[in-house]
Amino acid sequence: MTLPAWMRSRWVVVPGLIAVATVAWNVHVAANATGVIEGRVVDAQGRPVAGATVTLFNRSFITNDPRQRTLTDADGYFRFENNDSHAVQLEAERADRGRSERRTVRLWFRAQEHRLAAPLVLTAR
């Protein structure tokens, strides 16, 4: 079976492929835009830090503004929900253990579910 000539035209095939890719991407986004960002905080020796305050900064045009804060659990894990940004920064701090470097996380779309590959490391300052 051969397709009609107009269906094989590049004026139909190229926009058609773009439309299919757009729909597929939007389905992927809808399935993964949970707004969850998870990670872990450890000290310089790699031990989990409980009770550290983790701050999530949202990127606006040229500044990063603090939007959410949470505390780590007994195993040093933290979890943010309802993140609606595509570019965030994370920073952890505990008064007696120091502060981590601010980690930039760039996402492929807003509210993308993300788990930090490497933990935030507190260092005394």
């Binding site: 590049r10 004026w11 045009f61 040229i62 595509h86 570019a87 760039r106 492929w108």
Partner: protein, 270 residues
């Protein structure tokens, strides 16, 4: 040279092509890195390439809205061009009183810069009530004189006997254009589509004047706005440039064969 040194000709062509493509490469390279375009010493290859600058552009400004506005305006301009220019081109292939005067008038109008017509165009648009609308944005681009002449040349290349036969068969003038002339003038249509698309897509001055809301702005205006916010010459700005350029390049690549044929047909006629 051609017979003895074919490689020399190719080498020269490759060098010239590379020189022409280098600025585009530099924009693309900057778009996929966080380097400054003026960084010294310059690097030829991208350092840590990524695509997140494109994501930034999509979300930091209302890019989808600008894209939609540009797409609507370009679609209106292309449709208007194809229809109106074909009708005007056909009229110029017919004999009528003062035809030479009309041709002279059209050619003279090509000499007037668009900037000189902005005030009357604005007043007419205001009187029509199309300020700050998609139709208003597309209105001055609905017909272009260059493309009228491209259609005229294409229609004149169609054998007159074919048109006479169609007329004897009872076809009206409208149907002669739609069913005889236009199907035989695909290169002219492709040329018109590409030129109308690129002109409307890149149009800056007219949208700047006629739009009042940020919601009605098109991509070139968005680009200027983005630059004024960012005041930066690094990745995101050039990612925006690439995103503005891509549709035009895509349309050109799809129609390039017909485009070249459309521009050169009739060029060697005696």
């Amino acid at each position: 040279m051609r017979r003895h040194f074919p490689w020399a000709r190719h080498a020269v062509l490759i060098l010239v092509s590379a020189a022409m493509l280098l600025p585009f490469y530099w924009v693309l390279k900057t778009a996929i890195t966080d380097e400054n375009i003026y960084a010294y010493p310059p690097r030829l290859t991208p350092l840590d390439p990524h695509l997140f600058n494109f994501v930034d552009v999509w979300y930091l400004i209302p890019f989808p809205r600008y894209l939609l506005n540009s797409a609507i305006v370009s679609a209106l301009a292309v449709a208007g061009n194809v229809v109106l220019n074909a009708l005007a081109g056909y009229a110029l292939t017919r004999h009528f009183p003062a035809k030479r005067l009309v041709l002279l008038l059209l050619l003279s109008c090509m000499l007037i810069p668009f900037q000189a017509t902005i005030i009357p165009a604005y007043l007419i648009s205001a009187r029509l009530g199309v300020l700050n609308t998609h139709l208003g944005l597309a209105l001055p681009l609905l017909s272009t004189i260059v493309c009228i002449f491209i259609y005229k040349a294409a229609f004149e290349a169609v054998p007159k006997s074919l048109i006479d036969a169609a007329r004897i068969d009872g076809l009206s003038e409208w149907r002669i254009i739609a069913t005889v002339l236009l199907p035989l003038s695909k290169p002219a249509i492709a040329t018109n589509v590409i030129l109308a698309f690129i002109w409307s897509w890149n149009s800056f001055m007219w949208p700047l004047i006629i739009t009042r809301d940020a919601e009605m702005q098109t991509l070139p205006l968005g680009l200027a706005r983005f630059l004024s916010y960012l005041e930066d010459t690094t990745g995101a700005l050039y990612a925006f440039v690439v995103m503005v350029l891509l549709p035009g390049i895509l349309v050109f690549l799809m129609a390039q064969k017909e485009f070249i044929r459309g521009l050169t047909s009739g060029a060697t006629k005696g």
